[in-house]
């Protein structure tokens, strides 16, 4: 996030959260419909209610560091979002916030470490690993791509564009997976051929970030 330094890392982090939140709110019905196929159809609703609360928090909060803000957001998601998504997404934000600590500057390596901490939190919390047909199946390849691109010195806009493509490709590929975690797992083989709602949400958020980054992200 070095490019963002002049306008402040804090603003950049806030902006990222805001874009994610808007995406969740706008896609409520779409995400719920995806969850209805082999799940219980509430994923979009849960995520939208949670990120609505996140948007309110952003408007009111006066946290001083990216880490504090992310931990706060994690707490809000935990507190307001039920189902599987509250603990999963809440844990991810809280872990990322912990890694950020009280730092006011974040290197690219910091960001990647934060994402990895989020992933580890999700795995611990929900017991899933890659291939179980969950949002991890989009989040892990996306993080790998972002890390690889940034570490070879690519600019954020190009790196994010590649990340969005990786996330979408991976989300699409969840069609070929049998659900082994979450409510979809009850249907066993019948989950084959369906998209995982959480993975699609992750892909959709990365795409939105990639699209907007050069326009608004500065």
């Amino acid at each position: 996030m070095q490019r963002q330094k002049e306008s402040g890392v804090m603003q950049a982090v806030e902006w990222v959260i805001r874009v994610m939140a808007e995406n969740a709110v706008e896609n409520e019905d779409y995400f719920s419909d995806l969850d209805a196929v082999v799940g219980d159809g509430d994923f979009g609703h849960s995520l939208a209610r949670g990120f609505e609360a996140v948007l309110e928090t952003l408007d009111e909060s006066n946290e001083q560091s990216p880490g504090a803000l992310l931990r706060k957001i994690g707490m809000v998601l935990m507190a307001k979002v039920g189902g599987t998504s509250g603990p999963i997404w809440g844990t991810a934000f809280m872990r990322a916030g912990s890694v950020a600590g009280e730092k006011n500057e974040l290197t690219d390596a910091d960001v990647i470490a934060m994402l990895h901490a989020g992933i580890d939190g999700i795995c611990e919390r929900g017991g899933a690993s890659i291939g179980d047909k969950t949002l991890l199946d989009a989040l892990i390849p996306a993080t790998t791509t972002l890390g690889a691109r940034l570490s070879r010195g690519e600019e954020w806009d190009r790196a994010l564009a590649a990340t969005a493509i990786a996330a979408r490709t991976a989300a699409d590929a969840t069609r070929d997976l049998i659900a082994r975690r979450g409510r979809a797992s009850y249907t066993g083989e019948r989950s084959l051929g369906t998209l995982d709602a959480g993975a699609v949400a992750v892909a959709s958020m990365f795409e939105r970030l990639a699209e907007r980054w050069p326009l608004e992200g500065k």
């Binding site: 209805a36 159809g41 039920g82 509250g86 603990p87 066993g188």
Partner: protein, 331 residues
């Protein structure tokens, strides 16, 4: 959407408000945490028993709060486990020196919320224990899966544990008792129609005119398989066979038999299924000692039913017979 609903987002809150108003003297409602609790809880002489789960399963669990039953229930949104906060704050409000027992239906969301809330509550010095319910035989249980679901059989765990808690039994004893009840309880259900969550406004899944879903969960999750609709007796046979073979229930066993309506099926039909199941069990030498027919754990307006069997012993029978009160009643 053919529903008695106002703003869908307010659905759960309005329902809970209605429950509180219908039970002004006996129940207390804490809107911040979707908590319906006994007005006289916590009682320092007994363990407090708390359920969470999603909404849309009424009477489970908010209407099962009362003397000899639950001390509180803090459901999440429709079909969503409660957020950690609700569970934590409800646990604090029900804190008793004898402890708080969490009865948790085995779903990922519920497990996570209750695990985290327990950790946080324990960190604040509270005594908390967890009791998992997973009576659904439709789901294969193995180390590679998330395990069986908790469905209508949770009623028996709540009734037995609630009665024992009322008698002053210790937290550890209640966990052991609850595990024993869960261990002899088996359920399987079928859906004739899907169900429509108010916030979604359309059916969760499509089921053809001549189709039914066997082994369905209580959240509209599809089940084991889809097949052509059959007569009531054939449906009863399929559910009963799956349940009986699983434990297995054997000749000479004494059982409680429940036919649970999923929400959209009229009572009359439940008794048609009950009659056949009772007769089949009797023929197999399994004695039906207690009967439960009606709505215990629903899936909004889904048409269909589940069959639950519980193997009884004298202690369990006397706990089921012990007096209990709840927010829902006919008389």
């Amino acid at each position: 959407m053919k529903k008695l609903v106002n703003e869908p987002k307010a659905f759960v809150a309005e329902m809970l408000e209605g429950i509180a108003l219908a039970n002004e003297k006996t129940l207390k409602y804490v809107p911040e945490y979707n908590l319906i609790m006994r007005a006289d809880a916590p009682n320092t002489n007994k363990v407090s028993v708390l359920q969470g789960s999603g909404s849309g399963h009424e009477p489970a669990h908010v209407l099962l709060v009362g003397k000899g039953m639950l001390d509180g229930a803090c459901p999440g949104d429709v079909f969503a486990a409660p957020p950690v906060d609700y569970v934590l704050e409800s646990t604090k409000l029900l804190a008793s020196p004898k402890g708080v027992l969490h009865i948790v239906n085995n779903y990922t969301g519920d497990r996570m919320a209750f695990d985290m809330a327990r950790e946080l509550a324990e960190a604040e010095g509270l005594k908390v224990a967890t009791l998992m319910v997973d009576d659904d035989v439709a789901v294969k249980d193995s180390t590679h899966t998330v395990g069986r679901r908790g469905v209508a059989g949770n009623f028996f765990v709540i009734k037995a544990v609630g009665a024992a808690a009322e008698q002053g039994r210790k937290l550890e004893e209640l966990v052991e008792l609850g595990q024993r009840v869960n261990g002899v309880t088996r359920t399987m259900g079928i859906a004739l129609t899907s169900c429509t969550p108010p916030a979604k406004g359309s059916p969760l899944f499509e089921l053809g005119d001549g189709e039914m879903e066997v082994g369905v969960g209580i959240h509209g999750e599809p089940g084991r398989k889809r097949k052509a609709v059959e007569p009531a007796n054939a449906i009863a046979d399929e559910l009963l066979d799956a349940v009986v073979e699983d434990l297995p229930f054997k000749k000479g066993d004494k059982v409680a038999l429940m036919v649970n309506g999923l929400g959209g099926t009229p009572i009359a039909e439940l008794y048609v299924v009950y009659g056949h199941a009772h007769t089949r069990l009797t023929q197999a030498g399994i004695k039906v000692e207690r009967s439960y027919v009606g709505e215990y754990c629903t899936s909004l307006d889904m048409a269909g039913c589940s069959i639950t069997l519980v193997r009884l012993d004298d202690e369990l029978t006397s706990l089921l017979d012990a007096p209990g009160e709840m927010g829902m009643r006919i008389l």
